[in-house]
Symmetry: C2
Subunit: 510 residues, 2 copies
């Protein structure tokens, strides 16, 4: 039997496994500040990789980066009632601008109260919309295509690292368009950017679809999402793209002179993904030995560990490893130069090996004196860690052979992690359900980690939808989205009995 | 006489010129939120270039990026008295976590008061130090070498875009070391990283030196800075590197077991540069036609403007320009692929030209039908904009000739902007001053834009220094720093009459 690197295993206690992995892989830790985490270098390095890859796509689709204020005056939120209803419950509010010495120590200076409280941005529609209203004059100025990388704060009662933290990092795109069609096209374009980013870079298969009315972003006319199935069967909303119609244009007066000289409101969109995606990667690819990182987002793809012995031979071995590193660095993988780290820390080699296994480094090379003499390298491939007998599956190659093969190994790993997750997702989607009793039955009998159920529905709204959502909630279930790829369907709505118009996923969710 | 693109000229009204340039070059604008600005794409693009170049150096010197919380509990500031004295006057404080509907609209929910107020970070020594105290066990863990890119908030009474805003973007490095020598070495290493970054990338000559006692970072044992002379002769502190000694180690209990098994406090450092540097670039290189950007930090280095006429010939011209772009894109400049933009916006070509001149794009190409037919390009070089007769100085070259020369033109521009600023700085430094009366006389007679005076001093401290600082203040003067390169000197202190130990710069400052 294999003795895995983590104490908690996915099959037994998924939540504890998740927490242990984050700590064991040095991704993040609790900060001591309520609901806020510290992203450690390996975790932040994954975010930097995500940023670099996604930023390229955001720019390639014509958007420009900019930066808007962290603080939003309270009055900005009053202009859009639905929006503030959605966010007012969970915002950090700055009310004072100075501390002073009180009798018992440092206190908030009562003389330094702000005339108007400032909200720490939970999202930036209101402040960016206000700028749009200044910038926009004529149809010739459209579209406005902006994005920002920023921190946002939403006061959360129950937090979980990466998935739900009071402060998190994200990008938020904000655009304005001349016509409804243009804005809808933008919304769908960015949904597709997110889908391909999730699948091609994070190796995380997702369903791209439209959210039901009750799950819309506050103020949106339509919210689209990408949803991924985690290894415990739960759904993770990993990115959203909102068609905002005229909601914010009317609230913030985003108007322009159209081609006939008449004033019109612009149609706006917004879209975002966050550090939550790192949680998605962990729960998609992690195993009982720690994280497994898709090479595209691994901060380092190949780790070289010299088996130093604290004797005279070390210098020669180190030089050999440096030469190996510079040879391997010439490889190009997934369209970029390979990222190689030579780990020279003063730690035991076996500790280093397991530390990199837990961090999910794709290839871990160990080089000892014998390897050096034979001109060979011995290495682990992270997603094929064990032999059938349970021992570590070391591969041995000549240096040149390794240099010739490393690119292919990494590209295969990228594909393999995706295929594994895709297969698992497909295996755990139930279809052809006739009524809600079948849904209940499935969740009652599917064991510890049930998957998703895809049903036909008539897209009910308002009170009718609310009743159905209540029904789902009583079973701890939620609607995820109606997949774009299915399109219009025929059949009967399992809730209303009317003709169905689309399919929709039901799942337990993060 | 040349009719310049800006209404305000440096020689007449430097402050108005600065504001107009920021607006005319689309760098930033007031946000409507007190003391906070919006960084527009061209301004933010410059920051992205600075980040990319500096991040590379920070990583090359062994530091890793991470991310710490935006909020710092009030009690963290109580542990280090000197530090809080320096910052307590200007911090944004979060006291509540919810809004609610009051009688007259949205209000801060009185029921949602935080038990402990949270300070929006003005700098992160306290929160990072607390993490260091958890992470650090043994001398083997040292050094700790971290950096973060983040937003910080310091409540400012009088704000000026880029130079002094309530929220700004920066990087802050934080490190811990085994010995005093190691920490001092780190402090100086990062000062040198900043010096070479400012001079080699921003083309901004700086003086690297140590601050006098009264200008130290709150809690630092020594603060080093780079100081640059702006075109109005004022000094801009463009970056700082602090040797923190044991101050924060004692306040935050950053201890380790040393090589003998005894517990020791670690020595810490911190160092940072911010979006303030963009203000430095503007005031170093801007002219009466707008910004002039050193090619290393220009978001786009070559702009291609097709002289479209809204007729059938436009398509052919556009295709020609696309071909030109792809040919020029193969050029490598300053160690990177050249950045080329084809400007196809629906604006008049002459408007575009002046817009790019104001933005400071290094090379602006205009391509008309005649150029196309002759296989030529006609272009402006931003720092040599006019002929002697005051007309725009268009250069004409064949496409191949341009492709062969563009790299050299840009590299010459990078050097030329530096040399121009260096020459100006040197011309405006006065030395060999005998006493403070000479200093006063210089500032009384030097005209509108006086430079700096370098004097010998005995490095007084405490009350003696305070008196001298008061004297300077009465003349609106400040100490900048004591230049490293001068080292120990001989001579007499102009303030105390004692033997001088170093030289120090006196200047008006931002």
């Amino acid at each position: 039997m294999i003795r895995h690197a983590l104490n908690n295993h996915r099959s037994k206690d998924f939540a504890s496994w998740y927490q242990e992995l984050i700590s064991a892989a040095d991704l993040a830790e609790e900060s001591g500040v309520r609901g806020c985490m510290i992203m450690r270098p390996w975790g932040y390095g994954i975010w930097e990789r995500m940023q670099a890859l996604l930023d390229r796509e955001i720019k390639a689709t014509g958007h420009e980066n900019c930066y808007f204020p962290l603080f939003i005056p309270l009055s900005y939120f009053e202009k859009e009632a639905e929006h503030v209803d959605g966010f007012a419950k969970e915002m950090a509010v700055v009310t004072h601008h100075r501390l002073t010495k009180g009798e018992k120590g440092l206190i908030v200076d009562p003389d330094a109260k702000l005339e108007e409280p400032l909200v720490v941005r939970p999202t930036s529609e209101t402040v960016i919309g206000t700028a749009f209203s200044r910038w926009l004059q004529s149809w010739r100025d459209l579209p406005l295509l902006y994005n920002q990388w920023a921190n946002v704060v939403r006061w959360e009662m129950r937090t979980r690292m990466f998935l739900r933290t009071s402060e998190f990092l994200w990008q938020e795109g904000h655009t304005a368009h001349e016509t409804r069609e243009d804005a809808v096209e933008e919304t769908m374009k960015m949904l597709e950017v997110y889908r391909s980013f999730a699948e091609d870079k994070l190796a995380m298969p997702v369903i791209a679809g439209v959210k039901p009315e009750n799950e819309r972003f506050p103020g949106a006319e339509d919210t689209y999402s990408i949803e991924a199935m985690m290894q415990d069967g739960k759904a993770l909303q990993a990115g959203t793209s909102h068609f905002l119609g005229h909601t914010f244009a009317k609230a913030q007066n985003i108007r322009f002179q159209d081609r006939n000289g008449d004033y019109q409101y612009a149609y706006t969109t917004s879209w975002g993904v966050s550090t939550r995606m790192i949680g998605g990667v962990i729960m998609s690819h992690g195993d009982d030995d720690g994280l497994r990182l898709p090479p595209a987002i691994a901060p380092q793809q190949i780790i070289i560990i010299p088996m130093l012995k604290e004797n005279d031979g070390d210098e020669q071995l180190l030089n050999y490893c440096k030469k190996l590193k510079s040879e391997v660095q010439n490889i190009s993988v997934l369209g970029e130069p390979v990222r190689v780290l030579l780990d020279v820390k003063a730690t035991k080699p076996s500790q280093k090996r397991w530390s990199w296994v837990k961090k999910g480094a794709p290839i871990i090379i160990e080089v000892g004196a014998r390897d050096m003499d034979a001109g060979k390298v011995s290495f682990l491939i992270r997603h094929q860690l064990y032999q059938e007998n349970g021992k570590p599956n070391f591969h041995i190659m000549g240096v040149n052979e390794f240099a010739d093969n490393a690119g292919k190994i990494l590209e295969d790993m990228q594909a393999s992690l995706f295929n594994e997750a895709k297969h698992r997702t497909q295996e755990n989607i139930i279809e052809n359900v006739e009524n809600f009793n079948d849904v209940k039955k499935y969740y009652a009998n599917a064991g510890k980690y049930p998957g998703w159920v895809k049903v036909n529905w008539a897209r009910p709204t308002g009170a009718e939808l609310e009743e159905i959502v209540k029904l789902l909630k009583s079973e701890k279930l939620t609607f995820r989205n109606s997949p774009i790829e299915d399109g219009a369907i025929s059949g009967r709505c399992i809730f209303t009995g009317r003709d169905a118009v689309e399919s929709i996923y039901i799942a337990r969710a993060y």
